[in-house]
Amino acid sequence: MSLLLSYDSSEFGDYMKKLSRKKLSRIIFLCLIVQFSFLPDLFAANKILNVKVRTAKVRSTPKAWAPMLAVVKYGDSLQVVSKEAGWLKIALKNGSTGYLHESAVTTQRIVFASRNEGMPSFTNSSEVVLAGKGFNSEAERQLAQGDPSLNFHAVNFLEKQTISDAALAAFIKAGKLNQQG
């Protein structure tokens, strides 16, 4: 890749034209390896991942309604022990392990703006999640003020419509659906 970064376009063009197809294929393959090595790798054990949802339950088995062992919250950093079909086995503070679905976490760092003084600038915004920035509760409050027709009161009611783990487990069992998760 460094070859590409310090280039003179016409010389490089000549160089590319002289390369055999096989050599060129190898160069491209190496470029892709470098490229993809920077992609998030959720499969590596001992990887640290960060919670990107408000709260999530760490469970005793890899099942969405399995008994809860612990609750993690937005911004928490977790150590991954292993991965199994979308579920991460993570290390808990008491030394045991539990399961959390990969959709709850990210490789990006979660930075809470209000806790930082003189927040460093991030030129690559794919490295971090700026918690509480952008579309947030304050933007919603101001939007609602400007447009009273928006029914956020009903949205708050909607968010109260939840099903407990126990109720879900019973529903799945009674309907003879997949109880294994």
């Binding site: 491209i28 470029c31 949802v53 794919s126 579309f135 799945i172 997949n178």
Partner: protein, 305 residues
Amino acid sequence: MNISKSIFTFIIAVALSGCGSQNFQQMGSSVLSSTGIVTSSQADSFFSAGGMFAKAANSLSDEEEYYLGRGVSAVLLSRYKPFPNRQLQDYVSKVGSTVVAFSTRPEIFNGYHFMILDTDEVNAISAPGGFIFITKGFLKIIPDEESLAAVLAHEVGHVALSHGVQAISDSNLTQALTIIGKEAVSASVDGVGSELVGVFGDSIKDVADTLLTKGYSRSQEYNADAYAAEVLKLAGYNNAGLVTMLSALNGHEHGDSDSTGWFSTHPDPDSRISKVKGSVNKGTESLDGQEIRAARYRAAKRVLG
């Protein structure tokens, strides 16, 4: 330029454009066109396509998607009221939660929430952030729990595949990311500027417009159907319920009240059936539990008359 050269060139473009910076893309485009494989305008178009892979990484966070979804839901709920029956509402939430449990995105910023809308229009809508709505009118024509699960799995598919967020116009998304980026370096970390509130409101309008009027693209709809077929199977449902549901839509006589409903925002049910029938259960016999599920659906639905 033949096909293999096109593919070869595109691979170079993806490999080189991953860094995402515009300068690098311009440089890469010059490098590529200097090889003589492609013209400079062809090189530019390959790089703008390759750059989209980098753009996907610089999109909204789960938290921002949640607030976007709250805004879209607030638009929807300014037009429709919730159907006021606790038992039927709980039943729909349970079927929805079952489907979510077997999806690729069971965790979302503040959880999934399901609601029945009190209207005879036939429609089901999912806003970003996991807010999923189905109308009383749709429930009236759905014959069984397998079909209801199919509808909800399709909507969860739109959320899991981020179709709602993709409905934000490029200009609004770019503007939002730029403003957020500027805020990150400013000394003030509290408060929200009117510029951001403006683009927030416009983004909500983009998504609401897609959900209620324009509809998703055909390929997004077919992808959500394919997603649903898979999730239903994992959950233990007979995923032929997807075909049953689409057939029920086909058979429904719709009037003018459906002009902003399902029929104006989705491809023709026949075309969707032909796309998905290869991946659904072809057996005529019921799966274990299907009769039990059909019975509990009939019991829950009695309140609709």
